[in-house]
Symmetry: C2
Subunit: 352 residues, 2 copies
DNA sequence: ATAACTTGCTTAATCGTTTAAACTAAATAT
DNA sequence: ATATTTAGTTTAAACGATTAAGCAAGTTAT
């Protein structure tokens, strides 16, 4: 049982394919199709269970109603969730999303870009990874519509939807300071991506504004590829140093997870041995014995808005550039609980 | 700067599009294209940065090199990970994957199926949800290639790749019994899906084979839509009953997460107040203060094999039916630690 | 009575690719 | 000298849809 095409319907109805196309696209009025024939065509279409061939439609119209979503790291639940939001929102508007993860590799990102361009996606939503500036320029040159999501390049003029990372990190710092911590570290990726730099900058300014002198040993930068071992070393270092930190901000979910694993191994107690604030969000943060304070980014809004921007641009390519920074919200939990004056350290919980 | 087509190249080279097509598809030998012209065509193609139009190719060939992946619930990290595996494996073979989640709703699954059929996917990999039997029959009737993944319908003859859930659950039961527990409950979805029934059956047989009489109050069936509140009730019940359970098997990841949240609220201690074994796998299980014993399904293998089966079928539609059940592995951790004879309950850890 | 609409339909080009078949000119065979 | 091969290339149909333009009736206007 082959799939029915317009031609099949036309044959059965004894008319040309043009008529069938008109009727099935609801253009019978403008194109003056006879009422009787229209009825007949609709009936036959139903009988044959006609489903239009999207390929043919797209080839003709130049629109595929498909969006390419390139994500820097889909194993990060924050991105996984944002991908869902994008997908849902796109579906609501009749678009299909093709998702690809480049696992923080610019090269893989290039591949994805090309594959998706060949597949004629109408536009892109991209969570950029380090070193992908040339790809952004490429898209701009070819006039391929796209919106950067969550991460952007301040030196390249593009549409983007992102979080105010400076502010988020500043708030995290202030929160820890208000909770009585003063030796506060931060762990981030070794990267010159803007969103990462902003997180570090916000943290530093929070210290500065509270007259805490930043100590170089408090900033730990870790390579994404070698995260597990470098996180361990970093934790060892911040705890051993003369300027031993009491609290730590983790600039990403992955860093926090790896750190928590190690902290568990070391039988350290959160927050008494080390207070914690993390970026990202996930079930783990709730279920950890000491729920983790985290920066909640406006995930839904970020996803929805990126789709909205892109669709507007697809409808009207002349549309002006759109850029928006959204505010994150600090969700305070026990992992950053206010330090009580001077207490004997509680007995660590038995993990054996 | 418009995208270059075969025609553009042909014009520049002063030849017909046929020649260009032959050369760019490596058919120059069979079709006897002159060496000089071939060179010229390749050069121009490179200069124009020619990228073939996948739509046109697909329309002509009837193959899109696209697989539809329909997942029952993408928010479950097990499925999210399996989706990644499928995507990677497909990409290796030159296929693109379009993912959709039906969130355990058969209706949504129908929509997805139709959308993807219209998009001319070459075949499907499907994690079925309850009530989607008719969809499976539909695919069979239309001869649309597909492989069921993780869940299947024993009464419908199809290709499938799944876990031996009976065995996995049986092993989980045995493990708990060996660890000294005898009042063992199980929490599952209220569902007549085969994989769910098998998990309950395996558990019951483990009890039976060890002469433990199953108590009806030990089986808690929860509706997916109303999970949060029903899990709480269920936990309350199994703890309050005359036959108070000492251990609990959670048939899915979602159930376990919700239960753990509630157990934390109740300040209950795992495993002393309640030992736990769960299906599914995720970071949470590692990071929980008492690492959770879980059934590790062969995620990688499941995903890879499903792609392999489907691609074989796409290459040769006459290929026989393929069905495979893979074994899961129980990863024993502290949440199901052997019960020590008779001990005073340890002071619950301070969660405040 | 004839020009000018209206109605209801068909024709044919187009999107970008593939590929069987046809064609031409040169080379080889008889 | 003529028939047959071979090499190198073009033509044109096809995939399934859309849509501007054309055409043949019938209707209305003048």
């Amino acid at each position: 049982m082959k799939k029915a095409s317009l031609k099949d319907i036309a044959q059965q109805a004894g008319v040309s394919t043009a008529l069938v196309s008109y009727v099935l696209n609801g253009k019978e009025k403008e194109t003056r199709v006879g009422e009787a024939i229209a009825q007949k065509i609709r009936l036959i279409a139903k009988e044959l269970n006609y489903q239009p061939n999207h390929l043919a439609k797209s080839l003709r119209s130049g629109k595929t109603y498909t969006i390419g979503l390139i994500i820097a790291d889909i194993s990060n639940p924050f991105f996984a969730n944002i991908a869902r939001v994008v997908e849902d929102e796109a579906k609501k508007n009749g678009y299909t999303v093709i998702i690809g993860s480049c696992d923080e590799h610019a090269e893989k990102s290039w591949d994805l870009l090309n594959v998706l361009i060949n597949r004629q996606v109408d536009g892109f939503i991209i969570v950029s990874c380090e070193g992908s500036e040339s790809q952004v320029h490429y898209l701009k040159e070819r006039n391929i519509p796209f919106v950067l999501l969550d991460r952007h390049f301040p030196e390249i003029q593009t549409d983007f939807v992102a979080t105010n990372n400076y502010k988020a990190s500043y708030d995290a710092g202030i929160h820890l300071i208000r909770s009585g911590y003063s030796k506060i570290g931060i762990m981030a990726y070794k990267s010159n991506m803007y969103h990462m730099e902003e997180r570090v900058r916000g943290y530093k300014h929070a210290l500065r504004d509270n007259h805490i002198e930043f100590d170089d040993s408090w900033l730990k930068e870790v390579h994404f590829e070698n995260m597990e071992s470098e996180v361990r070393t970093a934790i060892d270092e911040v705890l051993a140093s003369g300027q031993r930190v009491e609290a730590m901000i983790f600039a990403t979910y992955g860093l926090a997870i790896n750190a928590l694993k190690y902290i568990n191994e070391l039988r350290l107690q959160v927050p008494s041995d080390l207070a914690i604030v993390s970026f990202g969000q996930a079930e783990v943060f709730d279920l950890y014995y000491c729920p983790i304070t985290y920066v909640r980014q406006p995930l839904e809004m970020l996803g929805k808005t990126s789709v909205e921007f892109l669709l507007k641009k697809l409808k009207n390519p002349e549309e002006g550039m759109k850029q928006i920074l959204m505010e994150a919200k600090l969700i305070a939990r026990e992992s950053s609980k206010a330090k009580t004056a001077i207490t004997a350290p509680p007995t660590p919980h038995d993990h054996s």
